[in-house]
């Protein structure tokens, strides 16, 4: 029962953070709202018993990605025309598209999904079974991930040092 209450509380916090992201004017406030949403999602994962993913969510998303984002916001001067006028001329079409997509996905969700639930398991999601399976069965994917990260670093350097970077 308490678990369900926590689930609803974290879900409400996640949606509230997402709404603040749409409304807030300064990018730093948007970033803080997104961090709140990500932490709420980590709380949801912890309530579900998938602690491994909750830890990844905090470490990778909040710890790495959002810190990077916050540094970039601090580095750039954000008070330009996009600060004065938050929304583009696509405001109405955007609202329409989002409402239509939400209605379509909600209509699909209205049908119950016919898989037997296996909640509160956590069995394979505890750290030890996950680590063993990860490094024994999925070691190739893990190595490919490191290759992907190296490619991303090289590409980032190439983008910055490219044609537009000479005046900087």
């Amino acid at each position: 029962m308490t678990e369900t209450l926590w689930l609803y509380a974290f879900s409400a916090a996640a949606v509230a953070g997402a709404l603040v992201m749409l409304i807030a004017r300064h990018p730093m406030r948007v970033a803080v709202a997104l961090i709140g949403t990500m932490l709420s999602l980590a709380g949801i994962y912890a309530v579900l018993g998938v602690h491994v993913i909750a830890v990844f969510q905090v470490l990778i998303y909040v710890g790495a990605v959002m810190v990077f984002m916050v540094f970039v916001i601090m580095m750039l001067d954000t008070r330009d025309t996009s600060f004065v006028a938050r929304y583009s001329h696509l405001l109405l079409p955007g609202l329409l598209v989002a409402a239509l997509l939400a209605a379509a996905l909600g209509a699909v969700l209205a049908h119950r999904i016919g898989v037997a639930p296996r909640w509160g398991a956590g069995g394979d999601f505890r750290l030890q079974p996950f680590s063993v399976a990860f490094l024994r069965d999925y070691w190739l994917q893990f190595e490919l991930t490191s290759v992907l990260l190296v490619i991303a670093v090289v590409a980032a350097i190439a983008v910055i040092k490219g044609r537009g970077g000479r005046d900087g």
Partner: protein
């Protein structure tokens, strides 16, 4: 409404709010953050399905999605920096001439 359905509804809500943000906001950095919100919504649905029937495969897939998202942001931020260096603004409307 059972728990999986509730989680999927939450992921739909996050995805749609993120999509709305990408469409309507003008600041390039805010658009990037809204894309991150969309990825988070998709990851939530993945976790909801994985916790139902999957095993360690679901957790491994979520980990790989996290790493790919980190790589994506590592490429996207330098592109935004490059754009700002050229036109001195984060307003996406200033780059309308990039449309094909």
């Amino acid at each position: 409404m059972d728990r999986t359905q509730f989680l999927l509804a939450l992921s739909v809500a996050l995805f749609c709010l993120g999509l709305l943000g990408v469409i309507v906001r003008r600041n390039a950095l805010v658009m990037l953050m809204c894309m991150e919100l969309m990825v988070n919504g998709v990851v939530l649905s993945l976790v909801a399905f994985a916790a139902r029937g999957g095993g360690a495969a679901g957790a491994a897939l979520v980990f790989l999605v996290f790493v790919v998202a980190a790589a994506e942001i590592a490429i996207a931020i330098p592109i935004v920096l490059l754009l700002v260096r050229q036109r001195r603004t984060l307003d996406i409307g200033a780059y309308a001439d990039l449309r094909g």
